[in-house]
């Protein structure tokens, strides 16, 4: 279980945010709210790109606040800049995997098929659409096998039918692997389609 307990964070400008959230294994939580209420800040604190002033963030009882981003049980799909432009889509997936998984071509190919991007493996990111780039990043995130998945408006570039397909895959994998997923979204249809809880952040 992902537990965010009494976390307080103050931005350099003085704006403060407080969080108290729990996400169980196999659960998806949609984080919603207007701009500037701290949705991305929440993901940054969990991923290790920001440090709270107080509180704790733990996975199954183990506080990982002191760990750097690469040692946390977390994987993130950012809003943009998820891919290295000089590497092909396949290389972009492989570079983010642990060495033991890099040559598991069957699993990598299956992830491409599952997310509807099969055939794009050897293309450079600039040669595929924004939505396809996001799905390559999602494929990598799912293959990384971390228990906490953070999605920062990762599906906003996709058209609705494609988004629905990705959500179906996401729900299936989340339940199968018992992952805890937090995803930031502006579209209320997302949470409805996933049938998941949603957290409305307010200023």
């Amino acid at each position: 279980m992902l537990e965010i307990r009494s976390v307080n964070f103050t931005r350099p400008g003085g704006l403060s945010f407080s969080y108290d959230i729990t996400v169980a294994e196999g659960e998806i939580l949609a984080v919603q709210g207007p701009s500037g209420v701290g949705k991305t800040t929440l993901l940054d604190l969990i991923a290790g790109f920001g440090y709270p002033d107080s509180g704790s963030i733990s996975w199954n009882g183990s506080n990982f606040l002191a760990s750097p981003p690469w040692e946390r049980p977390v994987t993130t799909v950012f809003q943009s800049d998820n891919l290295f432009t000089h590497l092909t889509c396949l290389e972009n997936v492989r570079i983010g995997l642990p060495s033991s998984q890099r040559d598991d071509h069957a699993a990598i190919d299956a992830a491409f098929v599952r997310l509807g991007i099969d055939g794009l493996q050897n293309r450079l990111p600039d040669a595929v659409s924004g939505g396809q780039q996001q799905r390559v990043a999602l494929a990598r995130a799912l293959l990384r096998d971390k228990p906490v998945l953070l999605l920062d408006e990762s599906f906003s570039a996709l058209d609705w039918p494609t988004r629905q397909g990705c959500f179906d895959s996401l729900r299936e994998i989340t339940e199968a692997r018992r992952m805890a997923v937090l995803f930031v979204s502006h579209d209320e249809r997302d949470a409805a389609h996933l049938g998941c809880k949603s957290l409305q952040l307010t200023a």
Partner: protein, 537 residues
């Protein structure tokens, strides 16, 4: 607490920066020592220094203003008549002077404007008189405009291209006249880059050596750089050389500070993407077309014709004669060895320094020692550095025996700021887009450098190495101090051939040197591109 850590490259960079600072300070210390060892400041000495400094300042200011006076209307005319075809031509002609050796350019200018040049022959064929010899202030200004107008043109063109499309649309809708368009749309953007551009070109012309030496035509037209060379090599007047070098250093440091204040860390450079030209009121009027035609013709005469002159005069029977000279092959071997080594060393050191800067910047650590080490070598021109090294080493070793090493070191240090700026900008932009992703994916250390940074940086590494080696291959400044009959580089051989009035051989040598420079530059750029394309596996 921060997830951004500077890593070991930060320490390595600081160590290198300390070494560079120490070397520069040792050279400056030697100059101060030599300057103070004279017989006091005789009035004739003070008068001479004042005259030389005044002339250097005057010619550099005039060169910068004339370059702008040519580049600005050409940039506007090119923008009005923009097409893919002339945009590519513009890039080519604006790029060539960047890598062209100054000695080669001097032969090209003589080939066009000299007594037996293209223009003189054209005039004579129409019954007119031959042109006078192309030496003196006019020739120096012409040469400086040849080198710097294309640089300015490139920056100004990309500045015009960077003006938002909406503003051009409004101008077209409102039917603004050419003058109104310039005042309301173009000038507010152009005025942001012009002061920095003028300061940069002033600095380049202030430290110009080979062109003044070859085209100045005598002591009346001499700059601080040439006077230092004369004091050191011909008069062996170390106190005078020291004084002149210190004065040169102080003025250059002032200009570098001004340049930094005007432009921040980034020097004026061509921006990436440019917008599309929209037809504007009056663009197709006959008067505008004629004006643009005249402006472009003047630009072609000043900057493009010398290139053709180098080709036209270089391809002659003398070419075979030069290729049979043992001295040519010896100088080619020396020049290429030094250029390749200097390019690789400058790029390697610049890469370490730029990486250290980028890592320290993201970790919010001080970066000024790295910036200072680099900026110092912008202020310390090649001749000042060479003079310092000459004075420093002459008591402990035979400087002429150490010539190859000193030329290599000098060339490398002089091109270091350029290589650093090319790599530093790209590394900073890579850090902003890749830092979080690499941290999230646990791509760190050597793995990150080899798989992510190096391939993404390959074009800039190739450009930096190509530019550094081309600058080294064409440089005549440091070899002028340390060169001898036993140690010659190609530019030095070309200068000596010209000094012996062997114009045909000099033209052939100039063509060969230009081809070698372009070849070396292209090889570096292509190799880096190929290396960057290797598959990740």
């Amino acid at each position: 607490m921060s997830w951004r850590r500077p890593g070991p490259v930060s320490g390595l960079g600081l160590g290198l920066a300390a070494g560079l600072l120490l070397l520069a300070l040792a050279s400056i210390g030697a100059l101060i020592g030599a300057a103070g060892s004279g017989y006091g400041t005789a009035s004739h000495t003070t008068g001479y220094i004042r005259h030389v400094a005044g002339f250097t300042f005057f010619q550099a200011s005039l060169s910068a203003l004339l370059s702008l006076a040519l580049a600005l209307p050409v940039a506007r005319a090119c923008w009005r008549r923009a097409s893919k075809w002339n945009a590519n031509l513009l890039i080519l002609f604006a790029f060539l002077p960047v890598v062209m050796p100054t000695t080669v350019a001097a032969t090209g200018l003589i080939g066009v404007w000299g007594q037996r040049g293209i223009m003189s022959q054209l005039l004579q064929s129409t019954g007119g008189p031959a042109l006078p010899p192309v030496y003196g202030l006019g020739a120096v200004l012409l040469a400086h405009v040849f080198f710097n107008a294309p640089l300015m043109l490139r920056v100004l063109s990309s500045t015009l291209g960077g003006i938002p499309q909406a503003q051009w649309r409004l101008a077209a809708q409102w039917g603004l006249s050419d003058l109104e368009r310039f005042a309301k749309i173009e000038w507010p953007t152009l005025k942001q880059v012009i002061p920095g551009l003028l300061a940069l070109v002033f600095l380049l012309c202030f430290t110009s050596f080979s062109l003044v030496l070859m085209l100045g035509g005598g002591p009346a037209v001499t700059t601080l750089e040439v006077s230092i060379y004369t004091a050191l090599r011909f008069d062996f007047d170390l106190p005078m050389a020291g004084k002149l070098a210190l004065l040169q250093l102080m003025i250059c440091a002032g200009v570098v500070i001004l340049l930094t204040m005007l432009t921040g860390r980034s020097w004026p450079g061509a921006a990436g993407k440019t917008g599309q030209t929209l037809p504007q009121r009056g663009d197709n009027a006959l008067s505008t077309r004629i004006t643009d035609g005249v402006i472009l013709a003047i630009f072609v005469c000043v900057t493009v014709l010398p290139l053709f002159a180098i080709l036209w005069r270089g391809i002659s029977p003398k070419l075979a004669a030069v290729l049979a000279w043992p001295a040519f092959w010896q100088a080619t071997f020396t020049s290429l060895s030094i250029a390749v080594l200097s390019g690789l060393l400058a790029t390697g050191i610049a890469l370490v320094l730029a990486s250290a800067r980028s890592r320290r910047a993201v970790a919010s650590l001080a970066v000024w020692p790295l910036d200072l080490a680099i900026s110092l070598y912008l202020a310390v021109s090649a001749i000042v550095l060479g003079t310092g090294m000459f004075i420093l080493l002459r008591t402990v070793a035979d400087v002429f025996l150490l010539a190859p090493l000193l030329v290599l070191l000098g060339n490398m240090l002089v091109s270091l700021p350029f290589a650093y700026r090319i790599l530093e900008g790209r590394l900073a932009s890579l850090a902003s887009t890749q830092d979080r992703l690499c941290a999230a994916l646990d791509i760190r250390g050597w793995r990150r450098f080899s798989l992510v940074t190096l391939p993404a940086l390959a074009p800039e590494i190739g450009y930096a190495a190509g530019l550094s080696s081309a600058l080294s291959l064409g440089d005549m400044t440091i070899v002028a101090l340390f060169g001898s009959q036993q140690f010659q580089t190609l530019p030095w051989l070309l200068y000596q051939t010209m000094a012996r009035y062997r114009a045909g051989e000099a033209a052939a040598l100039a063509l060969l040197l230009l081809c070698l420079t372009l070849l070396l530059f292209t090889l570096f750029v292509l190799s880096a591109k190929l290396a960057g394309r290797r598959n990740y596996a």
